[in-house]
Symmetry: C2
DNA sequence: TTAAACTTTCAAAAATAAATGAAAGTTTAT
DNA sequence: ATAAACTTTCATTTATTTTTGAAAGTTTAA
């Protein structure tokens, strides 16, 4: 396999993986492309390499920046903007984890708290509902807290996790 | 908020959450419904409660069983099948983690190994590609191994993680 | 200012994913 | 064996998500 083929395969695979995780394909592909680019890449280049429209490139680059995993760069004497991806993997994972916690877990917790707080009637059905959603709330809260703690380490959190957990 | 409203809110929320995680909405809704049901539920009931077609119910129940988080139950003297969800949250999380590892992480690792193994030319571009994909491979492999180890505990893995990590 | 060079927005179109429902398949009781 | 009771399959339809591209917006240089 030669370089161009490998690069393409990587971008495609990362894109497919993205869509299994609720991130759209193009967004994941752009991220993949930037990850393996040694130089900052212009929007024009992204469009060209992935064969996508200007609007698509613009919107997905913006979304990646909102996630904090892609940065704008300005080159001296160049008018157009260039983009680079967060390349440190610990940092990348931490940012993704924090963002998903904020966007998905926290709102879900709020709902779980709400629905588990209804006053119980005598029916087994309702008792079970309250019991199960309460357990779920506790579980998700605990998991979210662990995630928080882990990502606090920032650098080498994975290594630290290995050390703490494997021994 | 009264029971019916709370139940509905829970099912809807779980469904929305599912789609952000690559699971289809109905599948997540069925799972939610079964999770909070004290009794095993028939396909007919699922169709009725979620207002979905027979085919849809059948296919998604099957998918949930493939994931190992929903079980068929047979009631004496009843011809039709009933379904229950895995209600133990530790067990549920372990099954989901293992299945996603098998379906998504393992295949991704295979590709990462492949593309990071191309022979390097002298260009900075290619060197960077190999370097970055190799790092990614190592990182994902390490993460997958930690996941493996954690889920080996099965019961109370989360509690154990809290204990090990918070101290 | 003006205009060139660039980016963003968003309504419409295209692509993709999910749901339907009727026919085919299966199981069980008689 | 037959038929009733139930489940599964899958071609077609429907709904959702993503992409396009042209117009509007912004920035910079002169």
């Amino acid at each position: 396999m030669e370089f161009k083929e490998a690069k393409n395969k990587f971008v495609q695979t990362w894109g497919a993986l993205g869509s299994q995780w609720g991130i759209n394909k193009t967004m994941a592909q752009i991220h993949a492309l930037l990850m393996v680019s040694s130089e900052a890449v212009s929007m024009e280049d992204v469009m060209e390499e992935l064969q996508i429209s200007r609007g698509n490139a613009s919107m997905n680059l913006r979304a990646l920046m909102d996630w904090g995993i892609v940065y704008k760069e300005y080159k001296a004497g160049e008018r157009r903007e260039f983009f680079t991806a967060e390349k440190d993997l610990d940092e990348l994972a931490v940012k993704i984890a924090r963002e998903r916690s904020k966007r998905e877990i926290k709102p879900a917790l709020k709902i779980l708290k709400e629905v588990s707080s209804i006053k119980a009637s005598d029916s087994i059905e309702e008792k079970h509902f309250i019991d199960q959603t309460t357990k779920l709330y506790d579980f998700v809260l605990k998991a979210d807290n662990v995630l928080d703690k882990i990502t606090e380490y920032k650098d080498n959190w994975l290594t630290k996790l290995v050390v703490k957990f494997m021994k």
